[in-house]
């Protein structure tokens, strides 16, 4: 898992919810602000930023709960992109 990928993802989430303190291990779905629109934006951000396509089998809510889990997903989909 890349710290850089995690930071980029966290930066995107914080930019969308600047009023909330969000840590890398924080469950964004439990915060209560996330809806299907943001979920779609999140998937698009991950795919665009890291040049990956998230396949159906990885489109699980657990993969998108935290910046850490999303960075791990990016690592699985494109190891070279995050230097692992």
């Amino acid at each position: 898992m890349s710290q850089q990928a995690q930071d980029q993802i966290l930066g995107f989430i914080r930019s969308r919810f600047p009023q909330v303190e969000i840590g890398e291990a924080e469950d964004i779905f439990q915060i209560g602000f996330v809806n299907s629109l943001f979920a779609m934006e999140l998937v698009m951000f991950v795919e665009k930023t890291f040049s990956v396509t998230v396949p159906n089998e990885e489109l699980r809510i657990d993969n998108f709960r935290t910046a850490t889990s999303m960075a791990a997903l990016v690592g699985r989909l494109s190891p070279e992109a995050v230097g692992v």
Binding site: A39, M40, N56, L59, R60
Partner: protein, 383 residues
């Protein structure tokens, strides 16, 4: 009745705005009022749309599409919307189904449906709205229950564009504790369709109510995982639908502008053409200004889609809100400029007026759009 409508000749492949305009001028615009009166689109036109490669040109060439970018797709839908919103409506829902299949379909699902959706051999319809659930998509009651290794669907979907004609329904249904999207062929036992007559606008879009009564489909009917993905599928398909409606609404404004320019140039009052009156010029000016602004908005949303930028979703909300409200406003003014002639069947503006009102409701009502857009504004300012 549809066969009685004589259509123009020859359909060439549509690849851009210019070829789309030529297609619409030859096969759609002159017949828009006839389509409306017939309450359906002729099969011959549906075949011509297929021959022109218009059903799903955004799909990759390797699966039968043309790899058309989203900005160009918007131009095509604008031109078709300029000619007839009912035709554009069919393309909108078909686009939503074909895109969802390409994005989330399994290899088997794509193998079964993609080529047919590209050619128009199978037409798609998007089944979300229900008698008691429109803007509140989470309120849907149609159920999908696991049975015999597959699924059993029960419920009613209504206001379904192309419901009367579609071969494949993309149905959103409630599963155990979640929502799933299902590909349901029209000929599935337990699926019945009734026509919705006397609709305000897009009267030729073959609206239907689709009822599922113990309709059993196999496990392969589920499109993508349910739950998290179904929510995104809903967001993604509606986003694309909104984009198409935004472009189609720009087409309505352009059609109003063209009709009003021609009419006010010819029609005289007190010995002078209507166009010499400053109040008429003011209305035409506002049409020119708004059509350009609305076009820029959807084109920007299209560029963001082509770039894979997440910000396209909000850009599309803004484009659709602006274009649809402007279309309704200018269609009303177009009728006003035409006077009593605008209220009758000899000019297209009464149809534009009816169709434009529908644009303010479908794919997210204006009220929902305002809530979403305002919410984004506050969020951007950290308020």
């Amino acid at each position: 009745m549809s066969n009685a409508i004589a259509l123009g000749q020859a359909a060439d492949e549509v690849t851009d705005r210019a070829s789309a305009r030529a297609f619409v001028q030859a096969h759609i615009a002159p017949y828009g009022n006839e389509f409306e009166r017939a309450g359906r689109l002729p099969e011959q036109l549906l075949e011509r749309i297929g021959a022109a490669g218009l059903w799903a040109p955004f799909l990759p060439t390797e699966v039968g599409g043309a790899g058309m970018d989203m900005v160009t797709l918007g131009h095509v839908h604008e031109e078709i919307g300029r000619g007839c919103s009912s035709v554009r409506s069919l393309l909108t829902v078909h686009t939503m189904v074909a895109w969802a299949l390409q994005r989330w379909g399994s290899a088997e699902q794509r193998e079964r449906w993609t080529a047919a959706l590209c050619s128009g051999a199978a037409l798609g319809a998007f089944c979300l709205s229900e008698p008691e659930a429109g803007s509140d998509a989470t309120g849907i009651r149609t159920s999908a229950t696991r049975s015999g290794g597959g699924w059993t669907l029960d419920g009613v979907k209504t206001w379904i564009t192309n419901g009367q004609r579609a071969d494949l329904f993309l149905v959103f249904a409630r599963t155990a504790g979640s929502i799933g999207a299902f590909l349901v062929p029209r000929n599935t036992p337990g699926v019945t369709v009734s026509a919705i007559p006397e609709i305000l606008g897009t009267r030729a879009s073959m609206l239907g109510t689709v009822t599922f009564t113990d309709a059993r489909v196999g496990p392969e009917a589920l499109l993508g995982p349910s739950g998290f993905t179904a929510g995104m599928m809903l967001t993604g398909t509606l986003d694309l639908g909104r984009y198409s409606v935004a472009a189609g609404s720009v087409g309505i404004i352009q059609a109003c502008l063209e009709a009003c320019a021609v009419y006010s140039n010819r029609r005289t009052v007190n010995g002078a053409p209507l166009r010499t009156l400053q109040l008429i010029q003011a209305k035409v000016t506002d049409m020119v200004t708004d059509v350009r602004a609305a076009r820029l908005l959807y084109e920007e949303a299209g560029r963001l889609k082509d770039a894979g930028e997440a910000s396209t979703i909000m850009a599309t909300w803004v484009a659709k809100y602006f274009a649809s409200t402007a279309a309704a406003r200018h269609a009303s003014e177009a009728v006003q400029i035409h006077g009593a002639n605008g209220c009758g069947p000899d000019y297209p503006v009464a149809r534009y007026y009816r169709d434009a009102k529908v644009m303010e409701i479908i794919e997210g009502s204006n009220e929902v759009q305002r809530i979403t857009i305002a919410g984004e504004a506050y969020r951007e300012m950290n308020l």
